[in-house]
Symmetry: D2
Subunit: 140 residues, 4 copies
């Protein structure tokens, strides 16, 4: 069974642009978070139960992004998520964002997130279900 | 001692405009909420302690707004808050929003908020400290 | 041919809740706007071309909302859009928002929007294509 | 004349937390942008005129961030902005974010922004007024 990137689509909303007429840069990070949440839907109860019932979260410890081209209202993006590394508690996620209509690469974003007990706000070892799910998206 | 409106100032942020180049209408409601929060700073511990320690909140039950003129990036607004009515659990707040540079009236917003026990999410009777503070902003 | 409400679905995002742990009230207005935009997708080029190429927008002149129940992270909503009135330049849209899992009514929102020339920011008479599309969603 | 960091203060808003009860990570990038905008207020007409009248912007080309501690509703932050490098068109800005009540370091953010003609969306050489202002914030 071959590993595959997780794919996510987002349509730029009317309120996601800024006074320069292009998508506000901070919006990209939210889309990447939402792509991660969608990828975790395969967990029992999804990301929602992870947070609300198991009191586990995946806050960002490190973020980096390169922006190559602006997006405008009316654009859609495809986000391809791959898992670069699974650590003791941390996961490195790579998001490649391209404009849907012409596959232009618009941004590359990397999130290092840490599995965290939300009550104590402390890192916890990766759970088995998360590790299995994440491993499916490690490129070969 | 004469009642007086509470005054709040907001500078339009770069990311508060939309694809039409004017401030996105939903932003106004957030500013009004922030003006209410600032008005409640006079409570011991302010709005923050009300929510985080006393587990009380003021969610909106009813909102209405009339928009008279668009705002753009670079504009500032003055918001004048008055209390129209204090009920058993509810408060009716009136927000008059004007553009700072020329006092142009840009919107009138009314929020009916309900003092709510956030754990049970049920209305609770108005507390004395809130009633006293709110009464200061009822026009004569 | 019978008129029908337009239906739109939204899944509450991780960042749409507030410090009280429920969806921030101002988010509902954005969802209603997005539902309107989706309804207008049937126009040639959709809402996007209306704004970007025809330089026409539908800013809100009046908004009112009643909130009946809180939403939490993990909830999804169904929004049913109907057109209450088509005026010379204005349209009154009614949004009934219910929680997907149990059809609980969570909010009713009404937007009066005005067809506006975005360059001059002046009302313009309703266009034929908009009038025809909107009329499909007037309840009988 | 000694160079000095630019200082900016932000109070966490009610709607800036997420379903994990802490400030949503993407909010930090917006605060840094706002700190940059405030730093540019010293330009004639400020950041607003730069964008609206001179049609110049400073979109991000690269962003990186390390998050050290969570923030909650009720927290305030101090942001210290320094200029690490001024290039032909680009500027590297370093933002050190600390919690106001105890000076706890909560995040370090770096933005590489590029002076851009917003009509053509192309880099342009740094203007003199920007270069002079930015140079004031290069640490010695």
């Amino acid at each position: 069974l071959s590993a595959a990137p997780f794919r996510y689509v987002h349509e730029v909303r009317f309120d996601e642009v800024d006074a320069a007429g292009v998508v506000y840069f901070a919006r990209f990070f939210g889309w990447c978070h939402d792509a991660m949440a969608a990828m975790l839907a395969e967990l029992e109860g999804g990301y929602q139960r992870l947070v609300s019932e198991r009191s586990l979260g995946l806050p960002a410890a490190h973020v980096e992004a390169d922006f190559a081209a602006p997006l405008r209202f009316g654009d859609s993006v495809r986000i391809e998520v791959t898992v670069e590394r699974i650590g003791e508690s941390s996961v490195t996620l790579l998001f490649r964002i391209e404009r849907a209509r012409d596959s232009l690469s618009v941004a590359t974003v990397r999130h290092v997130v840490v599995l965290t007990d939300l009550a104590a706000f402390r890192p916890v070892p990766m759970t088995d279900d998360l590790r299995i799910l994440l491993a499916k998206h490690i490129p070969e």
